[in-house]
Symmetry: C2
Subunit: 272 residues, 2 copies
């Protein structure tokens, strides 16, 4: 069987950890994969611990016990976080994004793997010790950010639909009132999507009145699930009294001035 050099193992380990953050790998797994003694793998892990700390990639932790092993918990450093938030503000506030009616075209950014994967790192880093069992979002534009956040946290994703689909099996549905338009809408989720007593992190793209987020919370109550956090990429400044109190947003959208072609959006400083 092939043997690998330390350089090679360190590179390979870093790849494996990067592809599956927040997942516990056993020492046995690595030992078999690299055909190396556990003591050798332990030494490799010590090098990796130093590496991720020095380069501010997060941390690698050893968990003892029967279900123990090694876990990589990524984080963005302050410079990367503020850099990303400013980059997003610049992208979103481009006047060419203004759509008649005072809306902003944001779909390309929310769908972007480049942005959604980096946004998810900020969100996930705040919940990596909160024992989230599943990330929940509402179709459609929140899905990329929610999926990437679920990937970062190594948990599944459930997507709430607007209409009942035959391929979802038996479903739970609720009606709710949109916070901004006051229209009655409905949302529905397969009964199979969420296990009893799950801890849920709600992730979505945008919040104005908060009606959707409140609807998701109500639906989660029907599943006997506990909401441990609600995170949106952008929340509007107005109305300040949203239908949910306890939420976080990366950015705050204050104003879209259609006439003067100006969008006022800035990072939400509370996040750090």
């Amino acid at each position: 069987m092939k043997k690998y050099r330390r350089n090679q193992r360190v590179g390979a380990l870093m790849k494996i950890f990067t592809e599956r953050p927040n997942h516990i790998f056993s020492y046995n797994y690595f030992s078999e994969l690299f055909n190396a003694a556990k003591s050798t793998i332990s030494e490799d892990i010590v090098i990796l611990k130093g590496l991720v700390t020095e380069l501010e990639f997060g941390k690698i932790e050893t968990i003892s016990g029967a279900s123990g092993g090694v876990i990589y918990i990524p984080s963005l450093n302050d410079k990367e976080t503020s850099g990303l938030l400013n980059e997003l503000c610049n992208a979103f506030s481009n006047p060419s994004r203004i759509i008649p009616g005072g809306y902003i075209y944001m779909t390309d950014i929310f769908n972007s793997p480049y942005y959604s994967s980096r946004i998810s790192k900020i969100i996930a880093s705040q919940y990596s010790n909160k024992e989230v069992d599943i990330v929940v979002t509402v179709e459609t534009k929140g899905i990329p950010t929610a999926l990437m956040t679920a990937k970062e946290l190594d948990v599944p994703l459930a997507v709430i639909r607007r209409n009942t689909k035959v391929t979802e099996g038996s479903t739970l549905s609720i009606n709710y009132v949109s916070g901004s338009t006051k229209k009655i809408e409905s949302m529905t989720l397969s009964r199979r999507a969420i296990k009893e007593a799950s801890k849920v992190l709600i992730v979505d793209d945008f919040m104005k009145g908060g009606g959707t987020a409140k609807g998701v919370k109500d639906l989660m109550a029907e599943f006997n699930a506990e909401v441990v956090g609600t995170y949106v990429v952008i929340a509007t400044k107005e109305p300040e009294n949203k239908l949910v109190k306890d939420y976080n947003s990366l950015l705050i959208l204050e104003e879209v001035d259609e006439e003067n072609k100006q969008i006022l959006i800035y990072p939400n400083l509370k996040i750090k």
Copy 2:
């Protein structure tokens, strides 16, 4: 400024490449990041090239010229590919997934970051030399696989909607006939979502009659975009004559036997 040891640079480089496959990084970028001479980085890259080849992670290539640099092109080896396909068949064919009417509950698997990210590696590895400009899918269940594929290929994602949304700006819409139900449906996409003359890879979760895929092709023609591939996770065996001829699928679903609680699904061997 901090200096790093070779082990640390190799680990860090592997992390950076893993997080952004199929992206060209310049030697200058790494040189500044690690505060090291270009010749040092070159030696690091040689080590990484050997590492990814020996461990069958794909390949790292140096591209010369003004816009040159280093690129990591991942691939799954045959064992990983067939392992994943068998794992998927086992998961999908669990009799508890059968829904009255002969449908299968698949949503949790399509939404899973664990599965969608690995599926995307198989799809992307077949298009990494095809100069794909953008991945396109139709809401909702294809989005996770399509997003992960776009991430693997380092390109954006466009999501076709079923209904026109005000936040999409001006849109192009078409009507099409569903291949299996023969109903007239519509799909719509923001004019901003796809640039003129783009090369498009269509990715979706499921194909039965092929009506949706044909609709996407017709819509892409309206954008003057060229479809370079159509990939679905699962295609049904029947009807064999689908409305699109040129497509690929990872798995073939032959039969759902509701009475005997059996699902016949298997890997599509043509993919290798």
